[in-house]
Amino acid sequence: MIGKGPGGSIGKWTTPVAIVRRGGTITDATTTSTTEVELQAIASLNIPVTTPLELTAAHRKTGGAATGHGCGFRLNTTNIMKETVSTTTDRAENGFIAQKTAGAATNYLAGQDSYHFTRTATVGAAKTPVHTTDAPNAMPNATTTDVSVRGNIDTSGITMGCTNFQAYSRTTS
């Protein structure tokens, strides 16, 4: 199907593959660090700066101490999300974090959204979905070559883990 754009220009609709998986891992990456650490990373990417991205990851903590953990995403060398994602109750908890971006461009560097969700390991127990739009930094205005999940526990005594980290991009033509 061919359509004319503004000014009479001719565009072309292609048969789109709307969502492209860029990479991901499904093994448990874990840490006992009380300061931020690289848990999982997807490297060797070449995602143009204006391409919308979606990042998802599952996280967990063990019991063993009355403390919690935090995690978030990083694009290239820029933290774009970092949140406390658990309670400080001494119990195992797990959930997911997700980030959507609308792609970056000059004057449009805050086009991102993020939300996280944590629940106890017991099915049916209370859950705390949290939607946040606060980002520690604007998106980098550059080609995305690396994405990663960073995390840490608040105080020693537990382990936090991250798995099923997946990166997707959406086609724009």
Binding site: G23, I26, A92
Partner: protein, 205 residues
């Protein structure tokens, strides 16, 4: 406070917390776990906040297995965060390929658009690796000629200790992490609770 880097995930199935317990049960070392100590590629800082003060350069030891596989200190990019304590990390990388007509940089669709109708017998197709910016940047991290050229996952374990490890302690940690069939001692002290000390094994369905 040195940092030790090993190749792979612990072959015993222990995760970072399980390995931490092993260092206590076997009296191997004391881990640095203070919030005031943050290891980064650039050095050791007084925490991971934006105003953290630089303290001193990183003292690191990378295992022989890592070096053999092409991973040296250069593998870790600028601003890489090692944190403290113990971490089991993984990085995934995928080369991208495209199918082009031999002798050109055009895929079949582009070739036909340029050249019109063409008999299949007159063209050869080949699969080439796209060495874009992201791949070049990643490949440059590896020792020359060692970067795997297919989809792969790099797994590393690093730990930060308060003191340098004597050789026998270093070798025991190396055994727990890098040697197949290694087992921690005092297995009865490890919890059977799923995920408490051992990682689950995932399988693709």
């Amino acid at each position: 406070m040195p940092m030790y880097v090993f190749a792979g995930f612990p072959k015993s199935g222990l995760h970072a917390g399980g390995l931490r317990l092993a260092t206590h049960l076997e009296d191997l070392c004391i881990l640095e776990e203070s919030k005031g100590i943050h290891y980064r590629k650039e050095g050791v800082f007084s925490g991971d906040s934006q105003g953290a003060e630089y303290l001193y350069p990183v003292e690191y030891h990378i295992s022989a297995q890592c070096i053999r596989e092409g991973i040296s200190w250069k593998w870790f990019p600028v601003e890489w965060a090692f944190g403290n304590g113990i971490t089991c990390h993984q990085t995934q990388a995928n080369p991208e390929y495209k199918i082009v007509v031999h002798g050109t940089d055009l895929n079949l669709d582009e070739f036909l658009a340029h050249n019109g109708r063409t008999a299949l017998a007159d063209i050869e197709l080949e699969r080439i690796h796209i060495k874009h910016e992201g791949w070049a940047k990643y490949e440059a991290r590896w020792r020359l000629g060692t970067c795997p050229q297919d989809s792969h996952i790099v797994r590393l374990v690093w730990l930060v200790t308060t003191h340098r490890l004597p050789r026998f302690v270093y070798e025991r940690l190396q055994e727990l992490i890098e040697h197949p069939n290694s087992q921690p001692e005092h297995l009865e002290c490890y919890s059977n609770e799923p995920g408490k000390h051992f990682s689950a094994i995932w399988k693709w369905e």
